[in-house]
């Protein structure tokens, strides 16, 4: 029973990632796509957590922390690129 609940959770998370992928492809503006990518990253964190419960293994839990950091840094870099035109500004004046 517990495993069935976890499998259903994995299925629903995959569905929500696919729905986010629709917004990445269709998104009328650049920030829409960044939001959808952020949502995909956050859903992948939940996916890895549920998968590690399903496998009864703690080996995947490093990936939770890594994906959280990478999703945040990627979103911040995209936001800065949209607003400023560059992700890393030069200060050589």
């Amino acid at each position: 029973m517990f495993d069935v609940v976890l499998l259903i959770s994995l299925l629903l998370l995959t569905l929500s990632i696919l729905v986010g992928l629709y917004r990445v492809i269709k998104g009328p503006s650049m920030p829409d796509r960044v939001y959808a990518l952020d949502l995909i990253g956050i859903n992948m964190i939940a996916l890895i957590a549920v998968f590690s419960i399903y496998m009864r293994s703690t080996a995947y839990l490093e990936a939770v922390l890594l994906l959280g950091i990478l999703a945040f840094i990627g979103t911040v870099a995209f936001a800065k690129y949209i607003e400023r035109g560059v992700a890393i500004e030069r200060n050589d004046d």
């Binding site: 952020d38 936001a79 949209i82 035109g85």
Partner: protein
């Protein structure tokens, strides 16, 4: 606690979080413009992930006796950074001149930052000469 009680608690937490994540994904598709979509993409998705990670933490802590410090760090990090990232993207969207939905009735920032066409033209100019 015996094993089945733990499994019931973890199942409820995981299912609740996953359903929240699914609702926020559908909100990302159904809502009309980028500013309303930001609500769906940041708030409810963050809560869903936090509840799911808490379920995983309780599973490994109670059933296997493994206190996972990485999971605690992941929970704290997602809780701190997801709203910040959402705010940054929303700010970038407004300043780069993404249009609001047609049904919007009030825009208090417009007298300060300029109309949507002005912001869009300014952003295009900034992208053309980025290091000025």
């Amino acid at each position: 606690m015996n094993v089945t009680t733990i499994e019931v608690i973890v199942s409820v937490l995981v299912l609740f979080g996953v359903i929240l994540a699914l609702i926020s994904a559908f909100g990302l598709v159904r809502l009309p413009d980028v500013y309303t979509r930001s609500h769906a993409a940041t708030k409810s998705a963050t809560l869903g992930v936090l509840v799911t990670l808490t379920g995983a933490f309780m599973f490994f802590g109670l059933e296997e006796g493994f206190f996972s410090i990485r999971l605690v760090l992941g929970i704290v990090f997602v809780f701190l950074t997801a709203p910040v990232a959402g705010h940054l993207v929303c700010r970038a969207a407004y300043r780069s001149g993404v249009p609001l939905d047609k049904r919007t009735v009030q825009d208090d920032l417009e007298p300060i930052l300029g109309t949507q066409e002005e912001r869009q033209a300014e952003n295009k100019e900034r992208h053309r000469r980025p290091h000025s």
